[in-house]
């Protein structure tokens, strides 16, 4: 049993949110490193695989990566080096490092605390946190059918492949993909009609009962206290600039 998974899902959601808010407001690099380390420290307890999590963290948009690489050249400041007439600055470098650390610290904590949850648990926990009922229901239906529709997509792709479809940069490809997505929409709609009828036959009145009984235990309070102390410490050090 991994200890993170035994902590109340509501606590994990709220603490991940709080963590993001605190980390976003930090500026000192050592503190950001500490925040990042907090995520690394919790990761083994979440049962997520190291490789997959690190891969997901680093898999930022190619464009964001480009933006970070451009930053040393676009921030004004002290000379670092120059290449082909463009000068890079130290300030720009630190700004890029700051953003990369912040983004990854938050994503890591989010993946370990919330991403380690069953998606249905996430929906129920959000429901218990009084997030709008319609939004929670929408989320529950979406997570239920993402996998189903992904399989539907793969079936359609397989059918195209069987007819020797090979994607390329041409009108035929774009039209085929457009039709593919249109077919996906049509099938999704027809499936939702069938699902709705089946649910109504079983007495669905528009509400999914939230059966999960959540209760806070000793472990939850210990985890809350430790996290709050850590976040408070980070804020204190940031505001009073005790280091750097």
């Amino acid at each position: 049993m991994f200890w993170v998974t035994s902590i109340d899902p509501r606590v994990r959601i709220i603490l991940a949110l709080l963590f993001s808010l605190v980390v976003v407001s930090l500026k000192a690099l050592p503190l950001l490193l500490v925040a990042f380390a907090m995520g690394l420290l919790i990761l083994p307890g979440s049962g997520l695989s190291w490789q997959l999590t690190l891969k997901r963290m680093l898999a930022m948009d190619g464009f964001i990566l480009l933006m970070l690489i451009m930053l040393p050249f676009t921030v004004a400041g002290d000379f670092w080096f120059s290449i082909a007439g463009f000068t890079a600055t130290w300030q720009g470098l630190w700004r890029a490092v700051e953003i990369a650390l912040k983004a990854n610290a938050i994503v890591l904590m989010l993946l370990t605390l919330v991403g380690s949850m069953e998606s249905v648990t996430l929906g129920h926990a959000l429901g218990k946190l009084r997030v709008s009922r319609s939004l929670v229901h929408l989320l529950l239906f979406t997570v239920r059918y993402v996998e189903v529709l992904k399989e539907e997509y793969q079936r359609l792709r397989q059918a195209m492949q069987a007819r020797a479809f090979r994607p390329g940069n041409n009108w035929h490809t774009y039209r085929s993909f457009g039709y593919l997505f249109g077919m996906l929409l049509v099938r999704a709609m027809e499936r939702s009609e069938r699902v709705m009828e089946a649910m109504q036959c079983r007495g669905f009145n528009g509400q999914l009962p939230m059966l999960a009984q959540l209760r806070m235990g000793l472990m939850d309070w210990v985890f809350i206290s430790v996290m709050l102390a850590a976040l408070g410490g980070l804020m204190y050090l940031e505001i009073y600039r005790v280091i750097i």
Partner: protein, 202 residues
């Protein structure tokens, strides 16, 4: 087009969160309980769309299809696209939490705009014309999102202005591809299951 945490200024984050909040309220109000399963199914379809890659030059781009989402769902496109972004952030680590409002607003508001500008033509169009209007809607939505992503960066500081310009230029081919694909999508839907957008909006 997922901006990450830590780059944007607090003002931009707050404006994004506020706009998304208002959009969600309006979207959830326009979505009665019995429409939630269908909306969820469509939200899942748009989530799957973001996993579909189409070739573009030597590389490839993933589908966004927010224009089609706007045409089919109207205001309900806001919660549908928001849920998709939330799941991507939580389970795949794309984007972030404090920027979720900005990211959702950048994708979903152009969808709503397309709903108002294009949908009136769609419901009256012949099957052939569906392609034209669909292409217009699809291109317009992605162009809107691109402008908003660039603006989010632009207003976050001078150092991001080159990156914002890069976003604008690099998304021009994506706008055309999304237009073609959206046109083809709506053409197929009009042929196979026109009641998907002939009825009242979701």
């Amino acid at each position: 087009m997922h901006i990450v945490d830590g780059a944007l200024t607090t003002e931009v984050l707050l404006i994004g969160a506020a706009l998304t909040g208002l959009g969600l309220m309006q979207g959830l109000r326009s979505m009665p309980l019995e429409k939630i399963p269908a909306t969820g199914m469509l939200a899942a379809t748009f989530f799957v769309a973001s996993l579909i890659h189409v070739p573009l030059g030597p590389s490839s781009v993933h589908l966004i299809m927010n224009g089609v989402a706007g045409i089919l769902l109207g205001w309900a496109a806001v919660p549908a696209l928001f849920v998709g972004l939330l799941l991507q952030a939580i389970f795949f680590g794309y984007g972030g939490i404090t920027v979720l409002g900005v990211n959702a607003c950048n994708i979903a508001l152009p969808a709503v705009l397309v709903y108002y500008l294009i949908r009136p033509f769609i419901v009256r169009a012949s099957v052939r014309q569906q392609f034209i209007f669909g292409a217009f809607g699809g291109g317009l939505a992605v162009a809107g999102s691109t402008l908003m992503v660039a603006a989010s960066l632009w207003f976050s500081g001078e150092e991001f202005i080159p990156a914002a310009k890069l976003v604008l230029v690099s998304h021009i081919p994506v706008i055309f591809i999304e237009a073609l694909l959206s046109g083809a999508t709506l053409y197929l839907v009009a042929k196979v299951k026109p009641e998907l957008f002939m009825g009242r909006s979701w």
